[in-house]
């Protein structure tokens, strides 16, 4: 069992709280991705699990063992750093073997493990090279290899793909997913890229300002975001938000007088101010959805097989809608946007989801 359990974890630098009451369970063999804007505390949380940052209070266990006061090397973790952190003065073999040597692992065992990792990662021809003689992708694989040879209970990845170019990033992402399946490893992975998060994770943890905003399966976060922050963070382009008033009879009135009639959640009362959310990819230009909004097209960004129409409503708000194919319309034309009830999200004045 290599489950990671974090309870009531708090950390501050002087008066600045960077982690506030974090509770999180990473199941054995699961792939958990921490996402959030920069400065949200996701890297700090990862480094706290690694033992590279001391914490103020709370409890951390790895595989049932409390690790709060253990140095990194005794936590049975392995970390893959954003910059890879390969030792520049050692060749690939020694980079991977270095930690094992210090753990007094027998020589034959070290060799076996390094060769095994090199085989998995196709690093065999590179073992005698120095890091500076490797490409970005190769360095990345060495960094992962260095983690594998340690046979850790938990792998920690700190934005491992952010230094790769776009094409390589997609390749490596797939490699990491395969590796996870093959090694049945428990992984905690930090990124700010939500595509990585959506494609890799069993569970996504969205963080903001030192707190966990929501944790759940990727599609759960996509279809049922708990609050405005998660709703706005997951999905690209971001969800559209419009303020509205609840009127009698399940009518939502926008500030420019357009109205939508919906089956409202029971907690919604007439007179409430709410925020409506709907994703660009769920809207169509024209079309026959249940809800319709009209406005003037500001601009259409055409990407080829699809595009994004920026439509200005009479209230002054701009709504983005995905358009398929090549619409026969353009800037300055009026447009009708439609979407379905299933895809309407309603948030209360505090920004919490209403169901």
């Amino acid at each position: 069992m290599s489950e990671v359990k974090i309870e009531k974890l708090c950390k501050s630098y002087g008066p600045v709280e960077v982690l506030k009451d974090i509770n999180l369970t990473v199941g054995d063999g699961s792939f958990v991705v921490l996402v959030g804007p920069s400065g949200c505390g996701k890297s700090t949380l990862l480094r706290s699990i690694a033992g590279l940052e001391p914490v103020n209070s709370g409890n951390m266990t790895i595989g049932g063992r409390q690790v709060n006061d253990l140095p990194p090397a005794q936590r049975e973790i392995a970390m893959v750093f954003q910059s890879y952190a390969l030792y520049p003065h050692m060749d690939v073999y020694n980079n991977m073997a270095f930690g094992l040597k210090f753990a007094k692992t027998p020589k034959a065992e070290i060799e076996a493990r390094v060769n095994e990792a090199a085989r998995i990662l196709q690093l065999e021809p590179l073992l005698k090279r120095r890091p500076r003689e490797l490409s970005g992708g190769q360095r990345q694989r060495v960094a992962i290899g260095r983690a594998i040879v340690r046979k850790p209970q938990v792998f920690l990845f700190d934005e491992p793909l952010s230094n790769l170019d776009a094409a390589l990033r997609i390749n490596t992402r797939v490699e990491i997913a395969k590796l996870h399946k093959m090694l049945k490893a428990t992984i905690v992975y930090v990124t700010h890229d939500q595509v990585e998060a959506m494609t890799l994770a069993d569970k996504i943890v969205v963080m903001n300002k030192g707190r966990v905003e929501q944790a759940g399966k990727p599609l759960e976060l996509y279809y049922k975001p708990n609050n405005l922050f998660v709703a706005g963070f997951i999905g690209s382009p971001a969800m559209n938000f419009l303020p509205a008033q609840v009127k009698k009879g399940g009518i939502l009135a926008l500030s420019d007088g357009q109205e939508l009639k919906a089956a409202l959640p029971s907690s919604c009362k007439a007179g409430d101010t709410v925020t409506l959310g709907f994703r660009p990819e769920h809207m169509t230009l024209g079309g026959a959805g249940k809800f319709a909004l009209t406005g003037i097209i500001d601009i259409i960004e055409r990407l080829g097989e699809s595009g994004f129409a920026h439509v200005r409503l009479p209230s002054g708000h701009t709504v983005v809608a995905e358009v398929r194919g090549d619409p026969r319309t353009g800037s300055g034309q009026s447009a009708k946007l439609t979407f379905d009830a299933d895809y309407l999200h309603i948030f209360n004045a505090e920004g919490q989801r209403l169901d």
């Binding site: 960077v18 920069s38 700090t44 006061d69 140095p71 934005e159």
Partner: protein, 319 residues
Amino acid sequence: MADAKAGAGNAIVGMGRGSYAMLLAFFLGPAVVIYTVFSIYPLFATIFNSLYLRQPDGAYLFNGLGNFQTLLTDTTWSVPFWNAFRNNCYFFFIHMLVQNPIGLALAAMLSLPRLRLRATYRTLIFMPTMLSVVIIGFSWQLILSPLWGISKMFLNALGLGFLFAPWLGQESTALITVSLISVWQFVGIPMILIYTALLAIPEELIDAATVDGLNQFQAFVWVKLPLIFPTIGLVSVLTFVNNFNAFDLIYAMKGALAGPNFSADIMGTLFYRTFFGNQLQLGDLSMGSTIATMMFLIILVGVMCYLFLIQRRMQRYSF
């Protein structure tokens, strides 16, 4: 990530207070002990010594600032002191007026774009700076010696033979000759420092100036020069500290007496003579310490001027 950097180097996880203290002691101990014992302690002990006066029976008696009063007013002490101080000021001014402008000019030429043999010039011009002052001093003594006659030959070849004189031996010219030899040796330091600062100025700035219609010389004066003022300030304070601490060259060329008639005497040689004694007087620990303390104060004033007046006002630009 920004959030990763914020926590730089807190206490180390899993390490107790005791072993953390041990760690710090291990890494810092040797340097701090050697530096404190052999550098800071002697400095303070010297200042302390300057407050005591040796009695005829060999005991040392607290004398307050009496030694300083003696040094500055009693003519046995004040005449050589003011003489050395004045000479040292000349020594410094000659460096400021000759060494640093030449260094600046050489650096400006070396930093010209597309200059060939740049590295060769730089290496060769810096060469004298590498050599010991003793060696340099003695070599120049030979070259300027009327016995060998090399200098005279050169002046004759230029038709200036009538100018030749035993410059090092004359009271009126000894100090300036020694100063110029020192300039000759150390011109490499301002040259390299200013050269580095010039290289750090981005090409585009000069391109922009060219587009604005400035020629190379104008671009240097109006764009580059203002940008390297901080370096010139640094060069000046380094010159000041080195000059008021100088000793080797004058001792090597003119001996501890810095003759003729103390005409090349500076603070360093006065201090050496006072502390160790010589043919004319016995060594005097108290007065030696007093002179060293005066040198310390002079250097301190110079460094403070630099830190508070010059460095504070000067803006540093980052490119």
